[in-house]
Amino acid sequence: MSRITTCFYAHLTLVLFLVPWLSLTAQTRTIQGTVKDTFTGQPLAGVSVQVSDQLNSTSTQVDGRYSIEVDDTAVELIFSYLGYDTQRLPLTSSTIDVSMEASSKDLDEVVVVAYGTSRRGNITGSVSTINNKQLENRQVSDISKAFEGQVPGLQSVASSGQPGTGATIRIRGIGSINASADPLYVVDGSPYMGDINAINPNDIQSVSVLKDAASSALYGSRGANGVIIITTKSGHASEKAAINVNFTQGATSRAVKDYEQVTTDEYFMLYWEALRNKNLSSNLTPEQAARNASSTLLTDLNINPYGPDYPQPIGLDGQLAPGAKPLWNDNWADVLQRIGSRTQADLNLSGGGENHTYFISGGYLNENGIAIESGYRRYNIRSNIDAKLRPWLNAGVNFAGSSSLQKYPQSEDSNTANIINFSRLVPSFYPYYKRNPDGSYETDAYDNKIWDFGDYRPSGATPRNNLAASLPLDKNDILRENVSTRAYLEAVLHPALKFRSTYSVDYINANTHDYTNPLYGNSVDRGGTVYKSNVRTVGQTWNNILTFDKQFEDHHLNVLAGHEYYDFHSANISGDRERFVLPGFYEPVAASQLNSFTGSASDYRLLSFLGRAEYNYLNRYHLSASLRTDGSSRFAPESRWGTFWSIGGSWKIAEESFFQDQTLINQLTLRASYGGQGNDNLGTYYAHQGLYTIANNLGKGGTVTNRLPTPDLKWETNLNFNIGLDVAILQNRISLSAEYFNRQSKDLLFTMPLPLSSGYTGYDANIGSMKNTGFDIDLRTIPVRTADFRWNLDVNFSHYRNQITELPTENNEPLDAGNKLLRIGGSIYDFYIPQWAGVNPENGNPLWYLADEDGNRSDETTSVHGDAGRFIQGSSLPKLVGGVNNSFSYKNIDFSALLSFSIGGQILDNDYLMIMHNGNTPGRAWSKEILNRWTPENTETDVPRLTTDNLSWTATSSRFLYSGTYARLKNVSIGYTVPQSILSRIGISSLRVFALAENLFTFYGHKGMDPEQTVNGATYYRYPAIRTISGGLQLGL
């Protein structure tokens, strides 16, 4: 290894010294002018103005003005601005005014790419961008939730509505089965190990999504699942600093309603029926069965909401006693859920002088979730400063800090403390305040109502628990501080040669504080409990990049070479205690019994060398190639080095002379790329030795087997092929970008299965391959473009097919993976579960299909779930995902709407099972659908008979697979910009007032289930998506 390093530096040094440099003295003159937006006529600040092929550059001030010194050799000025077409103008006079077109995806748009920026037309790979306009209206705390429906080929699934949580992102399918399939985030040039939700969406200038090999292979062993590059805003030189204030205030509620439940009357009659049926099957006569059901009903449910007047509310006929009415109906959602609120305020200051620019921002966000005691509060600051120290030396520091408090009561998992589940599972006949038998409230000495913890409730209805009473006294806090800095020094060694050294550090300190009070609820007998943990992570990256960029007449060459070193350290401690001395104390010091204290640390390092060359001829034929070598600490020394590469090319057909005579087609470009990227994120930092977990026993050192040695384990590799066509017609009013991709993952990390009786579930191996093939379509249109009215309609969608092509088993036999089956030709998310065969019309028992000898579905059925065969039942992966974005502006009014959609795919609704029991969980709420249960009169149904025995009918089967198709109006905004004529009188430079809605409507099939679930299609009792409706203003001073 050291040989490689030494060798590399020797070459690098040689290159540096061989570079000649030119004299910097020449005759100069000054060019000045104003840059405006073609469409709005407003001045544009921060537009980069550069003399072609020279060091000289400046940027426009707030009023759009610039002035720049040029010498005799200067030929033209290049005006570029993120999100706008770049213009090259000859130096024909000393005043050059420019109007720039803010266009969607034009070929000259500047986009951020790996280790630099590029013009869209020069990109041979596949890069999609999201600009700040598409982000600024979003009511999300975590930027990853704003991507859905915006980028073709990107699948975003927000599976929790808990404030402060993010979304799962998959780019172009699923690249890995057992290793991570998450993309790499890069912020301001360095891989980001901070919290994604520490980044204020309002600080973001642009987001680039790198989807293919040519664009992401430069990230080597971390680029296989795609790369998301976030670039934050920077300041512009101006006479007067810009001051912008944003404020929004809104309210939150559930985006979709919960499952419908039966009424109290229905519940009592149904449960009576379950008891009666059970008695019948215990060989009692029908009379005895009915009589015992009537008499034991209240014993089982342990409450009589009908009052003492009806000691046996359900009669021997199974009907409600005449006149009986429930004396209360306490919907637990009334006390556990609420209308939440959301407040966001941001202030940013930007400006700069000739040799420096700055962007400083501060933000405040406070979101109270729809579940009580859930919320997220964040403060953040950012300071991005760039300075030109010498004509040949630039430096800059981006500093971002944030502090957040997330109040996160349990809101996933089947745990009884899950607040979402609690309000779903406890029926409304169990009161939340204590009631007398006649239905009136019990009160304490001060006439206050008393919370009912329901000691009497059966275990199906979460006894001894009342989250509405205990949560406000408890704590479920996550305090997080995130500091991210990026500092660079850039030496312009020659107009064509730059050297840039960047150091970045991402630091997170996360402190969890869980406390349960000693007064009420679950922890009374333990005198209250407290758990505290602290996790500190530091990710440091240092890279040194040399860039050569030169136009040789018709040839243009750009070469990049460098190295990168990455070091990640994570350390944690945690402990818990119980038995508080007094109520009102929350910290461990106040609890008398130590239960546990532990801590551990881990290290991960990566050393890399990378290079890229881009060439074009006549700006018409483009070629690019890249290479990166990574050494990863995750693997054994023998197998830790890997090399990743890419090649790409594009042909701008519209630039050809034979194309010049027509006016219809403005752009026509064909692109193709191929290459290999790696994935070393196997889920463990120590993936080679045989390990015994430390499991100390009663004060003595203990260890127990954990993993078998795997000295030959290495990274997964993705081989990516991409071909794309970009077309723009009618003065760029319609532009289409279509891409086809074929992404082959090989050397996939698999757990090579061993029989459980071996003491292991298996061992890690690089066996297996998989491919994702599909297409991305990005269509952008401007149906109307007049002076007053503009309408943009953008549609994007993508489809991919995930297919396994090689498995670790002998003869590629299918491999079982829980509810899924991995098989050649299938996807990794194919459901492999028993197939529901309906309810036996004769006896009301559930039926599943049996398998024949070959494992295929037979026509035989069984009522024993364990005997049922398992079969492929569709996949959780959607067929098509995408979004439709409409935006209008008419005079000073703007309107936009983003609809995202997902078509196809199945979801296994585990949440629903909890309220679909067949009577075996007394006291547990019941879904409306249970009314359709089998009875001798209702034999054609798919809900079985009721009985207190567990018929296992809610065990996993296709019965509870539902379509995952949905469309969601993700975002709607309407705004009014107050005319300049009014504002100038009061000294305000801009003012816009607006209203926003997030997740306004959802169109979907299976009522009650939020259709936005996990990628693998299983629900997990999560916090539902929330709808936010807000109003606000943007003020420029």
């Binding site: 009692l284 005895q288 089982d300 830790r640 030795q689 203990g702 260890t703 127990v704 061993l754 029989p755």
Partner: protein, 497 residues
Amino acid sequence: MKLTHVYIAIWTTLSLSSCSDILDTAPTDAVVDTEIYKSTENIETVIEGTWRYLNDTYFTYANPGYTAFMRTSDAMGNDVAVTTKYGYRDPYTFNEMINSSAYRVTSLWTLLYKVIDNANNVIHKVDAAEGSDTDKELLKGQAKALRAFCYFNLASFYQFSYQKDKNALTVPIYTEPTTRETKGQPKASLEDIYTLILNDLHDASTLLKDYEREDKYKIDKHVVQGLLARAYLNMGLWTEAAEAAENAKEGYDLMAAGDYEQGFNDVGNVEWIWGHVQTSEQNTASYTFHYLDVSSSGSYYFSFMADPYFKDLFDQRDIRYQLFEWDGEPGREGFLRYKKFKFKSNLIGDIVYMRSAEMWLIAAEGYARAGQTAKATEALNTLRTARNAPLYSAASGELLEEILIERRKELWGEGFALSDIIRTQAPVVRKAFLNSDGTPIQVEITTPDGEVKKVNGQGHRVVNFPDGKPFTANSRYYIFAIPNEEIRRNPSLNNND
């Protein structure tokens, strides 16, 4: 500053950053396998860690380590009327353990075989390690006994009685440490499994003969003898069983009558030969008290209620009879508490694995079945005396029958219910708590407010198999399924079906 300086600066910084061993990292919460087997001191950590794994691993809250085996066995027997609360309501109905896809089925299987592999590693690698021969013998003895204990559980629950058919194929045997090349083994016969168990226990008996343990969770010669007694009893080797039982209980007196109501939560009890210790830090196994403990307010589920007919087996003077109480708490009215198990005050409790009372009963049964009536009667009456129960005489009834009933009474809730039913090839016997006309039997309770009232008594809620048929002997409903995951990954299992 000139550009040349910059070049020098760049060159210097880049040169400094080269090094290769920065890519070598090591975990902080795990030990490399090769390190462990270097010395006997290190190997001892495997014995300790494995014991912790066996006892204090949560698969779910209803499966806290090995205690889940014992609770499942009791839930499937005659005398515990498991309520509908979380935990063991499904094995109680005979729906769960027959279901090869049930989580508990997978958990219990995984638990035992992982312990077996750890034991195999120690047995095979200890000889090559540095350390004294005494240490090696000690470690090997513990590992062999632990392995025998696991195979004994497999033999007891995954096939019918050895005495029914010793050639019945049961579960696979592994005696070598698992490597990446290990293949799934076929099912072995009960005879092969018991041969392995006896060999291991005989070896352990020799290896541990001089070992004086400092904690009761460790395996010493008494524990080994107790395990031997259980194995012989299963195999129908009556005198051997009685003899081993006599050896096992040597030095472990029966507890004083007053100690019986202490809650069966302290390994310090004189009767305990073997048990697992709990601390406020290591307390996973204690979770089992949330099911067993039906009287402490800190208990969650109170699900192991007694069958009211079980109470009728006791004489009123019996100290154990005092533990019965009709529950008057809201939500549990009319259930019959048998307050044998109680949490300690800090909501933990040690787990009893083996008591001298069990050994007296094994001795009694062994002698009785071997025709040594006098010795059998003496053993039975020793225990009865300690419990203030009326002594057995020929007039009381059939001796063996009385011994088996005494086992149910003495060992209630200690994990022997189902294994005894399988072993003795008896059917489960349960009867609903109803009058002859089918109406619920009323019982008198006292509510927490002091009100005395009559409510329906709560007994067994499941009195036949899930298919509606009556309980029979040697039913497949009693046998634990081999998990689906095992069947699918181990093709050898099917070869000998």
